[in-house]
Amino acid sequence: MKLSLRVRLTAGLLAVALVASATSVLIGRASVLGHFSALALVASLVGLFAIFVGVSFAFATAFERSAKRAFQRLQVQFELETDQLTNVSQFNSELHEQNAIQSAAATETSAAVHELQETVQKNNETAKQARVSSEASRLAAENGQQSVVNMTAAFTQLSDTARKLVDGLNGSSANLDELVALIGQIGEKTKAIDEIVFQTRILSFNASVEAARAGEHGRGFAVVAEEVGSLAQMSGRAAAEISSILRLGVEKAKAVSEAARSSADRLVAETKSSSDIGLNRSEECKTALTGILQSVEQVNQAIDTVSRSTEEQTIGIGEIAKAIMQIESANMKTAHVVGEIESGLQKMKSADRERVVIVQDLRELLLGNSKPQSPSTVPPVKVASTPVAKPVIVPMPKSKPNPKTSSKSAALISIPKMERAPVNKPKKVVGMDYPDASDSRFEEV
């Protein structure tokens, strides 16, 4: 490994100073012995100058090394910043995407809430209609109940009427019975007539017998006796006819009475059973209608509950809609902020690029064009092992770092680089460009 020119120069200068010093010392001793003080003074001045130049050179070399290290750190810092910037940019774009998703979701939610609002409104209307229907049902059921009450009263009245009718029939039946009894009495009387007729006929036969025994004298009497007999017989027949007529009357009266009684009984039974059935039906109707009314009441309560729930839902949905509107406006603000961040990032990136150029310029100003002409002139860089692009510093052709000339040369040399850099990587973020191994910017270490 060859020593750098500057080191060699410094070493030479130090050697010269050492020689001058030794010479001056020797001359000083000689002056003490002789008179070589002028020569010793010159030698001392030369030695001092050599020392000054050597020290200056050494100081310059040390400064250059420090500056290089500082630039290297600055470069590393830039790279880190660039990475951070890239990360932030990525996060920002992710934030943008998430914001877009959130926005879309908020829009969808808003639409859904709108639909929900309509549905709830419909529910509310349906509940109102149901209430009207339920009210109609209740009125109908109440009317039905009133009708049932009327019907029950009608059945009771019917029962009463039937009872009165039966009482009337029983009364007429009793009258008929009296009539029958009367006819029976007449029949008894006709029996007496029959007895009398019988006795009369017996008498007439006896008279005929007596007349026959009387012979000639009894002939006239016999005729009379037979006449009496035939009259009695006629009376008997008439009595028998009366008797049969009476019997017929009695039979008819009894039949009528019996028929009236049985039909009355039947009427009573039928009316009672019909009335009972009707009353039972009425009772069933009443129970059913009461059940219907209870159900209607329950339906009404349910409808009220639904209505209240719907109102609460409406309020809740309104709040949701408000919240969604707030979310949407927040999203818009977020989007705006994201845009702002993006433009800020862009500015920062361009600023970053500008800064790199400035640093490069500064470096070139301070250290000269550090483009490696000889590898020994470039100090080892720790981060150079990683393929990170770093501004190429072209080393100055001069061995001495002259601020003026170095800045000029750096400016002159760096101009084509400045123009080339945006052409090569215009869209890339600073620090993200990984150059090829053949890239001329790579330093050989």
Partner: protein, 163 residues
């Protein structure tokens, strides 16, 4: 009066007392009849034939009563006119129970017809002739023949007991 005059024209005719046994009509000569009466209380006499009804008290006189319906095996029909015809048999009077006494008949001689041939025989000897009036038929009986010998004996025994 005209009827009385007409009956005068019938004075030579024999009179019969017509009565009913069941549905059938019978007649006996009026002169054989002593008297007629309604059915009185009859005292039953033990150990006598079934048609012998018992004895009755007619104005203090004990009279045997025969049920002619049972005697002739006729089903009785009660019309409420059951009567007793008291006839003289020899020296005794007997009562004959009939369902009803109808009338006194005086048929013309030619109106009486002899009993039909098929009725000839011991059992129907007591039917002397048949009298047809319009659609009715009346059997004319001989009471003495109608009553059997044992009946007469019983009647006489009863009569002697009563005497």
């Amino acid at each position: 009066m005209s009827e009385i005059a007409a009956s005068v024209g019938l004075q030579d005719r024999v009179r019969y007392l017509c009565f009913c046994l069941g549905e059938e009509e019978f007649a006996i000569p009026l002169l054989q009849v002593k008297t007629v009466t309604g059915l009185p209380d009859v005292t039953r006499v033990p150990n006598t034939p079934g048609y012998f009804m018992g004895i009755m008290n007619l104005r203090g006189q004990i009279i045997s009563v025969l049920d002619l319906r049972k005697k002739f095996n006729v089903k009785p029909v009660d019309r409420g006119e059951t009567a007793v015809i008291i006839v003289e048999v020899g020296s005794h009077q007997i009562g004959l129970v009939v369902d009803a006494i109808n009338s006194v008949l005086s048929p013309a001689h030619e109106e009486l017809q002899p009993r039909p041939e098929m009725m000839n025989g011991k059992s129907s000897e007591f039917v002397t002739s048949v009298y047809a009036i319009e659609k009715r038929i009346v059997l004319i009986l001989d009471v003495l023949k109608a009553l059997g010998a044992d009946d007469k004996q019983a009647i006489e025994m009863l009569g002697s007991r009563a005497a």
